[in-house]
């Protein structure tokens, strides 16, 4: 076990993949000498060369589009999109090509491409640097979408994503990059829990609280604060957003009868809606209250001085927990 920051854990996972498979190549802007704007690829170009860790011109569609060509040629490209808000120029290549080529070719051409996306807010950045675009991609068949919430998962799941024969969007919670955690670098990703499995983090009986990425830590903090008031919350880290692993969520809600889901992304059409609908379909007779969503608002990501109003924090999550429990809350007395 070693203490690693989130960013170093991803770096270690990338290094492992580069060592283990000569077909793994990294593409992105500033990922070479600089080591990426968040230093996630620090030192990799020096150790693996400019042909395997490629600084590209500034064109996101081309970064992803050339990764498609490399995958055709038998490579396993790992693409870095510098910031969440910069992914849109690559949207067509991701949605129309990466996601659909396996289907289009009747399974003849595989697209083992990993697209790394630092996502989420809370770092005081200007526009386009704090977005949560995951739902655009969970809505696209052919893609797998995963998030990580701790350094060990960051290390393991990046290797699983790269080893996966399907394309994977790997969302990294950028405000957690400097958080430290224990990482077992000897852990074999093949024997670790698969990346499309959710994980129950705390055992609880009163409310099921579903989170992913940067808000997992916030959810855990909320659960421990609630425990002080005698409320027992079961926190689930969704990890995979496409597909969502509903089994542990279903098992939990059948026990608690109450569901709260939280994410930074805007509410409408988001993962919260999808989870709420799916759990309602599967657990209708076990639910004691309507599922509650505690999310970012349906607004463009706001200027940084006000971003904490947009981001679900501990108190807003607890307010949502109160709503699920029918306790006094900010919406008490409102109908619908």
């Amino acid at each position: 076990m070693t203490q690693l920051t989130f960013a170093r854990a991803i770096n270690a996972g990338l290094r492992k993949s580069l060592e283990n498979d000569s077909k793994v190549v990294l593409l992105g802007e500033d990922i070479g000498a600089l080591g990426g704007v968040f230093r996630v690829t620090d030192g990799l170009q020096k150790d693996f060369g400019t042909h395997r860790v490629v600084d590209t011109p500034l064109a996101e569609s081309a970064i992803v589009g050339t990764a498609v060509g490399l995958a055709y040629r038998g490579y396993r490209p790992v693409v870095e999109i510098q910031f969440d808000g910069f992914i849109y120029p690559a949207f067509d290549q991701i949605v129309s090509q990466v996601a659909k080529l396996h289907y289009r070719t009747g399974g003849a051409v595989r697209m083992p491409i990993t697209i790394r996306v630092p996502f989420g807010g809370g770092i005081g950045s200007p526009e386009h640097h704090s977005e949560s675009p995951e739902a655009y991609f969970t809505h696209t068949s052919g893609l797998r979408v995963v998030t990580v919430a701790n350094p060990q998962d960051a290390y393991t799941v990046i290797q699983q994503a790269i080893a996966c024969d399907d394309p994977v969007l790997y969302f990294e919670p950028k405000r957690r990059y400097h958080d430290k955690g224990e990482v077992d670098e000897s852990a074999d990703p093949a024997s670790a829990p698969p990346m499309d499995k959710a994980r129950v983090l705390t055992d609880g009986n009163d409310v099921t609280l579903v989170a992913y990425g940067p808000l997992v830590k916030t959810a855990l903090d909320a659960a421990s604060a609630a425990a002080d008031e005698g409320i027992s919350i079961e926190v689930i880290d969704l990890r995979s957003l496409a597909p969502v692993d509903y089994e542990p969520v279903v098992a939990s809600v059948r026990k608690t009868g109450r569901l709260v889901i939280t994410h930074e992304a805007a509410q409408s059409g988001g993962l919260g809606a999808e989870v709420a609908a799916s759990i309602t379909e599967r657990c209708f007779y076990h639910l004691e209250a309507a599922p509650v969503r505690v999310t970012g608002f349906d607004i463009p990501y706001p200027y940084s001085k006000l971003e904490m109003h947009h981001l679900p924090g501990l108190d807003r999550i607890l307010d949502g927990v109160d709503r699920a429990l029918g306790r006094p809350n900010s919406l008490s007395g409102l109908e619908g």
Binding site: A62, G65, H102, G106, A108, D196, P243
Partner: protein
């Protein structure tokens, strides 16, 4: 051979001169529309080994793919295909370039390069699968080293560039060749592909067929300069060739391939041709195109031109013509049979190959739909009934 990255090879076009739709003497031509072979100090070299037999075989291929095109159009009119994108008039551009490739080169094309696919050895039934609505691709790209038709305009140019970067990493001397049209040159992807290809000196050939029309939009709407002139802005050498002259196309393609194989990086070829037919069988060019223009281009027909050359050389015998006609008829009837006897896809096929690994979301939906179909007792019947509504 010049590898000057900022200039042109052979065809010297004044920078920025000329309407992109115009054709004149300022492109590479080895055979005149009348079928006269004219010599070229630089480019004769690239076709010096083309024998009389090979000229006859080029004539055969061009005739066969025109026949394929006519047959497929007929199949569409008869309701056997939902749609077909004709290549009429572009036979020289496709056969001249397609026949220049090596088996280990890899083609990333648009949806109109059926003649190139023919050169790659595509199964004729596979060529029709997409257009009959039986598949989204049609063939295994690795079986003929050619990607299936790309419908998103210009997207394939990036795939070719990435593939070429892979060739480079592998230390191989294969080449990626990407085909696209004049309309595609306005797409961001095509421009980004040229940036990447130049930066990494990737072994890729950009083969732009300027057929003058992007559905109803003339090439002058896409560009104020000749398309070949755009390449110099990316540091990519370019060639502007008579796309209806199969020998000129072959010479240009061979030069570009040779440069790429030797580590000289990308080349942009503008093959000036004309889309004699509609964009697809769903299009009506009489709404936007002058009939006189069609007449002018009919006079430059690529097959008549090659026939003219063969005639001058005493090669256009009745025997050859009969042999080519027989071959074209055989291919057409094989293709028709392949089309009409193609097995119908089955309802549950829609769930296949979305992922290469198990996916819980999809498995659940698949299971539910199978139950839904089973509720009719006869799954196939239920689907055809739905389809008929």
């Amino acid at each position: 051979m010049s590898t000057d990255q900022t200039g042109h090879d052979g065809a010297n076009t004044p920078q920025g001169a000329g309407n992109p739709g115009e054709t004149g003497p300022e492109f590479l031509q080895l055979v005149t529309p009348a079928g006269e072979r004219i010599s070229h100090p630089e480019f004769d070299f690239w076709v010096r080994d083309v024998t009389d037999d090979q000229l006859c075989s080029l004539f055969e291929d061009m005739t066969v793919i025109r026949r394929i095109d006519v047959e497929a159009t007929a199949l569409q009119r008869q309701g056997e295909l939902a749609l077909w994108p004709p290549l009429l008039g572009q036979e020289a551009a496709q056969i001249g370039s397609g026949r220049s490739l090596r088996a280990d080169d890899f083609v990333f094309s648009s949806y109109r390069e059926n003649g190139v696919a023919y050169c790659r050895g595509v199964d004729l039934t596979d060529l029709l699968r997409v257009w009959r609505g039986n598949a989204s691709g049609g063939w295994d790209p690795y079986s003929i080293n050619m990607a299936t038709p790309q419908i998103i305009i210009g997207a394939q140019t990036l795939h070719a560039t990435g593939y070429a970067m892979g060739i480079q990493n592998d230390g191989a001397d294969a080449v990626a060749v990407t085909y696209f049209g004049d309309g595609a040159t306005s797409e961001g992807d095509v421009n980004e592909a040229m940036v990447f290809a130049a930066s990494f000196q990737a072994p890729v050939v950009f083969f732009c067929t300027n057929n003058h029309w992007a559905i109803s939009e003339p090439v002058r709407l896409q560009s104020h300069i000749q398309l070949a002139d755009r390449a110099s802005g990316f540091g990519i050498p370019s060639l502007r060739v008579d796309g209806n002259d199969v020998l000129a196309v072959m010479a240009a393609t061979r030069l570009a391939l040779d440069r790429a194989r030797r580590g000289g990086g990308p080349t942009f070829i503008e093959a000036v041709s004309y889309r004699m037919g509609p964009h697809t069988t769903a299009d009506d060019p009489t709404r936007y195109r002058d009939a006189n223009e069609l007449e002018d281009w009919a006079a430059k027909d690529p097959i008549s031109r090659l026939a003219g050359l063969l005639e001058r050389k005493g090669l256009l015998t009745a025997e050859l013509q009969q042999q080519v006609k027989d071959k074209a008829d055989t291919v057409a009837s094989q293709m028709r049979r392949g089309c009409t006897t193609m097995p119908e896809p089955q309802a549950m096929d829609i769930f296949k190959h979305v992922y290469s690994t198990p996916n819980s979301w999809l498995e659940r939906q698949q299971d539910h739909y199978a139950r839904y179909l089973a509720s009719f007792g006869d799954p196939a019947g239920a689907v055809s009934e739905e389809g008929a509504r």
